[in-house]
């Protein structure tokens, strides 16, 4: 499969039958036309194709867009049917994890990983206490001295309008708060992530979007990198989400990883804000290894000059350099970046992340 066909395949996954055929035909025509255009401008054949694919953007974003139009209504119907069946079965077989209708795309107009309060109540042990006040949700699991509080005003609980009566609870915020309260919180899986809150397992429903897994693993990344560069000064490590429009550069690393293992690629950048400057992880990407053991990361174009190393300290060194350097555009060297293996421990803050030994330059100019 060549690069164009690989892009087409990735962009149209999840579509079926005639729709898939037509979407693939349309993309094939687009790539051909744009490749011809770049050839006319003087690119060689390979470069023209690379440029044509880059102009198209991230195939994953395209895939999501097409899926949302063509397959999601059907998938949601299937997921709902599945949930009803699972609900019926789980009342008979209590040992099975309870399937939760989770994931941002199950709820229109809501960004983030949210689950229904009723689903959360059904999943947690009967002795767990969930109290909804006007603004907040108090959650107390067995063994906890005091409840954790999720605040409505920070979007951790959505209970206005259509969600009143059965609010949506932000699963990432819940995991973080419970983790900080000493509950063991883990996530495993990528296509269908399972979240373990103490002894309770939330099995996110089939059809749940894979960004749900990325959001959950992001919590781990945030937890376990926060202390690396913590200092009393202005320097701090922040993770900033990138908008879909910023995404454009794809890096595939042959890591020889086990399929499904989750990795993060971090790129440091200097941030100027007001009169302060600090190092931050401006660009990051989280992804799981495919069947061939390779991992594909997608990063914004600002990270094109990317030098991936396997050394965790590279990130710290990069931030040190960026902190000293008044003008980052003057940096002749590629930005160092680091790849780390994520193991799904959302509640851990002390355990270091495992850097992955890779050493190659991005092939994207």
């Amino acid at each position: 499969m060549n690069e164009a066909e690989r892009f087409i395949y990735r962009g149209t996954r999840g579509l079926w039958g005639k729709r898939r055929e037509e979407a693939q035909g349309e993309l094939r025509s687009h790539i051909y036309e744009r490749t011809q255009y770049h050839l006319q401008l003087g690119s060689d054949e390979h470069e023209a194709l690379v440029r044509a694919l880059r102009d198209l953007g991230d195939p994953h974003t395209l895939h999501l867009g097409l899926l949302r139009i063509h397959s999601l209504p059907l998938m949601m119907a299937l997921a709902l049917t599945g949930a009803l069946l699972t609900g019926a079965i789980s009342t008979l077989v209590q040992a099975q994890p309870i399937t939760v209708q989770g994931g941002s795309h199950d709820f229109e107009r809501v960004d983030g990983v949210y689950i229904r309060l009723s689903d959360l109540k059904a999943a947690l042990p009967g002795t767990a206490q969930l109290t909804v006040t006007q603004a907040n949700l108090h959650v107390r699991l067995p063994g906890m001295v005091r409840p954790v509080v999720l605040q409505n005003r920070f979007g951790s609980v959505l209970q206005q309008g259509a969600y009143a009566g059965n609010p949506l609870v932000n699963l990432v915020d819940l995991a973080r708060e419970l983790g900080q309260a000493g509950v063991a919180v883990n996530v495993d899986g990528w296509e269908r992530p399972r979240v373990h809150l103490g002894s309770t397992t939330l099995d996110l429903a089939p059809g749940t979007h894979r960004t749900v897994a990325a959001e959950l693993y992001w919590t781990e990344l945030l937890n376990r990198t926060r202390h690396w560069f913590a200092s009393p000064g202005s320097r701090r490590l922040g993770l900033q989400r990138m908008s879909p429009q910023d995404i454009g550069v794809i890096h595939t690393l042959a890591l020889k990883a086990r399929p499904g293992e989750v990795f993060a690629l971090l790129v440091p950048q200097r941030v100027e804000k007001m009169n302060f400057s600090f190092g931050a992880v401006l660009a990051y990407s989280i992804s799981a290894a495919g069947l061939d053991g390779s991992v594909t990361f997608t990063l914004p174009s600002l990270a094109r000059r990317l030098h991936v190393t396997g050394e965790l300290r590279a990130l710290g060194q990069a931030i040190d350099v960026l902190n000293r350097e008044p003008d980052t555009s003057a940096l002749a060297e590629a930005y160092p970046a680091v790849v780390v293996r994520l193991d799904g421990e959302l509640s851990s803050t002390a355990k270091p992340l495992t850097p992955v030994n890779v050493n190659l330059r991005s092939t994207v100019p």
């Binding site: 962009g11 037509e22 979407a23 035909g25 349309e26 993309l27 094939r28 025509s29 687009h30 051909y32 036309e33 744009r34 011809q36 255009y37 102009d55 198209l56 953007g57 991230d58 195939p59 974003t61 395209l62 867009g65 097409l66 949302r68 139009i69 063509h70 908008s243 879909p244 429009q245 995404i247 454009g248």
Partner: protein, 108 residues
């Protein structure tokens, strides 16, 4: 141009680009670029979900035709009657909005 600004008017832009002739994806991008003096640039991959959404809503219809100079067939999109009405409605909305905002826009 800010991505959010573009997103808010994407349907109007796409419907308008098909107002006078059927076009295929690359030609729509070129036309939008030309008509806006390069103000509207977006990742080309975001075009197709938007076109498919409009097609599903019955505002446009797509049909494959052979490319005149070779290569894979192109999918040409045409405005439907419903699409024409929607375009007129969106254009009126835009004109009203634009008039209302004029006093706040400063000197051109």
């Amino acid at each position: 141009m800010d991505g959010n600004t573009l997103r808010g008017h994407l349907d109007l832009i796409l419907l308008s680009s098909l107002e006078h002739e059927p076009l295929y994806g690359v030609a729509i991008i070129t036309k939008v670029n030309e008509r806006t003096g390069g103000h509207f640039t977006f990742k080309e991959g975001t075009l197709y979900p938007a076109l498919h959404r409009l097609e599903k809503a019955g505002l446009i219809t797509g049909e494959f035709h052979p490319a005149p100079h070779g290569g894979p067939p192109r999918k040409y999109y045409t405005l439907t009657d419903k699409g024409c009405s929607e375009l007129t409605r969106k254009q009126k909305d835009w004109q009203a909005f634009s008039r209302a905002m004029r006093p706040f826009g400063g000197e051109a």
